[in-house]
């Protein structure tokens, strides 16, 4: 071994870096990037100079204005000189903000996970709590939730004699010792960072750590229950209930459903959802590709770079991967990029092989949900138990301001007219099942507006999507299997719609129909009213509101 190690440079170069043209490629890319950075710095400097110039001009104007005003004031009130002093600034300076320094240690320890930015936009929660078990203190010091990611920054302090043991967690281990619930119910979602994270030592017997979870907004206000059973090798019981209010985040999160599908040589990519949150841009991407597992190099996963507004390598982010019958692998991924202040009209993604960086596919898709002017024409018809409201207009898609008032629940692939509940990772993560052993997954409930059926365990073969494909033929009201975002109307905004379920149908990037569904009893029998709003839609929110109001008061005879 020693002999081989002494020769490792030659051996490793021969095995790993045998392609000499790659060296030139790497150097070329470095130089390109350096040039790009130099230009950026120049532009920035130019921008600053321009800004300073503008600022100077404005300052001079402002000073002249003040002098002029003061002189005028003196002119009119020269007899009472004491009044002149009232012109002095009454601004009380209170720039010191202790919260600015809170959590800096996490940033310094590279454990920030967006805390600093979350603090900047004011969505951190003021919550601190210490729980002690077996002489080990577990202190929650910083918490934030941005509508998609829940982050807890904590400190561990050992006051006992048993030593804390630095350890690395794999995702499963982390899940075993950090149990989370929302309102005492295990949520859908995937543990994000924190997996494999070792806590960072900051003093003898003292560590800091951060863990986060991808969590789609359950309610406006909820309790996040964190239950820890082991800390750095010491068993105990540390339970913390964190009350969370999402009031502040409402305006800081934007959701898009591009539903963009694109094909490449060995597979296809579908961008289902794009989430702009203060701490990240999150893509919900489905990827189907040929399995390319290589013993030596490991899995050749496909990763994504976001190319605009400036190129950025991603962090990948598998959520689940399933082997399809044709041998290909389907992965559902949450892909994270660093947050941006502006939302562009379109995004360009580059898919590349993680092992050699080679490009697999590059594609651009639109993000804007609003386009063009609209021509308003309205008509409605009540047919039997269905009120169909046609909203005319030239605009192709629903206006963003209306979308804003509709809360996303989740996007799932379902037969149209159906609503699926309970299909989530828990279906197999809680059982003994694994992505390759779906048979052991727990049963889930498939529910449409009209039917409810339980799918038995022994029927669970393949993945949930295949499963639905298999069963959709049998569903009474199924049409084709489409990717449909299921949404719920914000009932606080429109309380008159309580009791309705809502659903959107999409075609390509457009929302084509919006359903409101209400069930009621008539003559002892359950009836369902389905209100279908067809798009192209009006951009006139007041019209939609009016329509919704009339719907709420409508009598269904």
């Amino acid at each position: 071994v020693e002999d081989h190690l002494k020769d490792i440079r030659r051996i490793a170069d021969k095995v790993l870096f045998k392609d000499h043209s790659h060296e030139k490629d790497i150097i070329y890319k470095i130089n390109q990037r350096v040039r790009q950075s130099t230009n950026q710095v120049k532009r920035k400097q130019h921008g600053i100079a321009q800004y300073l110039l503008n600022f100077s001009i404005l300052t001079i104007i402002a000073v002249l204005l003040v002098i002029f005003t003061m002189n005028k004031w003196e002119f009119f009130d020269h007899e009472n000189s004491t009044k002149n002093t009232s012109l002095a600034s009454k601004i009380s300076v209170n720039s010191y903000d202790p919260t600015t320094f809170k959590g800096l240690k996490y940033t310094a320890a590279s454990l920030d996970y967006g805390l600093e930015r979350a603090r900047k936009v004011g969505i951190t929660q003021d919550f601190q709590k210490t729980v002690t078990s077996n002489n080990v203190q577990f202190m929650v010091e910083d918490v934030y939730y941005d509508g998609a990611t829940f982050v807890v920054a904590y400190r561990i302090k050992n006051q006992g004699t048993e030593k804390l043991r630095e350890e690395s967690f794999n995702p499963q281990d982390r899940r075993n010792v950090f149990e989370i619930k929302v309102n005492n119910i295990k949520p859908n979602g995937t543990y994000g960072g924190g997996m494999n994270t070792s806590e960072k030592k900051i003093a003898p017997n003292e560590y800091i750590g951060v863990f986060n979870i991808y969590l789609e907004k359950p309610e406006d206000n909820f309790i996040f229950n964190l239950s820890v059973t082991s800390l750095m090798g010491i068993k105990g019981e540390w339970n913390v209930n964190i009350p969370v209010s999402t009031k502040k985040i409402k305006d800081s999160i934007a959701t898009f459903y591009p539903n963009y599908n694109t094909k490449f040589k060995d597979g296809e990519i579908t961008v289902n959802k794009v989430l702009y949150t203060p701490s990240a841009i999150i893509f919900d991407i489905d990827l189907i590709k040929k399995s390319t597992f290589n013993k030596f190099m490991g899995s050749n996963t496909i990763q994504f770079s976001l190319l605009n507004p400036k190129p950025e390598a991603d962090g990948g982010g598998g959520r689940q991967a399933i082997q399809l019958k044709d041998g290909r692998v389907m992965g559902e991924s949450m892909v994270y990029f660093s947050p941006k202040d502006t939302i562009p009209k379109e995004l360009t993604l580059r898919a590349y092989n993680s092992k050699d960086g080679s490009e697999v596919h590059r594609f651009t898709f639109p993000l804007q949900v609003w386009s063009g002017d609209s021509k308003k024409s309205k008509k409605g018809a009540l047919k039997d138990n269905e009120l169909v409201v046609h909203v005319g207009g030239k605009s192709l898609i629903i206006p963003a301001k209306i979308i804003k008032n509709v809360e996303s629940v989740k996007k799932i692939k379902i037969p149209v007219e159906g609503i699926v509940r309970g299909i989530d990772n828990d279906a197999f993560l809680n059982g003994e099942a694994s992505p390759t052993n779906m048979e052991k997954a727990k049963a889930f409930v498939y529910e449409t507006a009209l039917t409810k059926m339980k799918i038995k365990e022994d029927q669970m073969v393949g993945n949930t999507q295949h499963y639905l494909d298999k069963y959709k033929q049998k569903m009474k009201h199924s049409e084709s299997n489409k990717s449909v975002p299921v949404s719920k109307v914000n009932l606080k905004k429109y309380p008159q719609l309580k009791g309705y379920d809502g659903m959107m149908k999409t075609k390509g990037t457009n929302i084509t129909e919006y359903y409101l569904i209400k069930s009621f009893k008539k003559g002892g029998k359950k009836r369902i009213i389905e209100v279908k709003i067809q798009f192209p839609a009006s951009d006139d929110e007041s019209f939609l509101l009016k329509m919704i109001s009339s719907l709420a008061t409508a009598k269904f005879n």
């Binding site: 002494k6 130099t38 997996m195 399995s291 597992f293 598998g318």
Partner: protein
């Protein structure tokens, strides 16, 4: 040609020229070190570029010769790679790899058997599979041919720690290679 200019050559103090020169000299070294840390060519490329952007930003604070510049670049690289390990993005990638790895049981083993035939490949494979703290010692000491005190300075740990990790790393490597040779 750059290498023939010798190690005494001083930097020009023109940031762009200096960085491009350093990229020509050590760009691939930085990439290779990043690869040994990250085991991912795409990420290693990204980190390499990041290292030289940092280099561009901080080169006016650097005083030293070309050899010291190499050491400085390696230090930036190790720090950046460790930042990546700590970032949640990397952890998501790990999860992705972990899940896809779980599919390997269904893959044919022919390729694995082929690779086993090449013991040198196995050695590199085993080094890459060592835990990070041992892997970096083996790479810095044997591949980068740094001295114990240099590794100690680079990683900001004591020389004794370097020695013990290097020793344990070799032990682990020997243990994992049992039966392979």
């Amino acid at each position: 040609m750059m290498e023939n200019m010798g190690t005494k050559m001083a930097l020009t103090r023109n940031p762009k020229i200096d960085v491009e020169m350093l990229a020509g000299l050590y760009g691939y070294e930085v990439y290779k070190l990043a690869y040994f840390y990250l085991k991912d060519k795409g990420m290693a490329e990204d980190i390499t570029q990041e290292v030289f952007v940092t280099c561009l930003e901080k080169i006016d604070q650097f005083y030293g010769n070309i050899d010291q510049a190499k050491f400085w670049l390696l230090k930036i690289t190790t720090n950046k790679c460790k930042d990546i390990f700590r970032s949640w993005k990397y952890k998501y990638t790990l999860l992705s790899d972990h899940i896809l790895d779980s599919l390997k049981s269904s893959e044919p083993q022919q390729e694995a058997n082929l690779i086993k035939k090449y013991e040198k490949d196995v050695l590199v494979d085993k080094i890459l599979k060592l835990p990070l703290k041992y892997r970096e010692m083996i790479i810095l000491f044997y591949y980068q041919e740094l001295k114990i005190n240099e590794i100690s300075d680079l990683l900001e740990i004591s020389q004794n720690t370097v020695k013990s990790r290097l020793h344990r790393g070799k032990e682990k490597l020997k243990h994992s290679l049992k039966g392979e040779y």
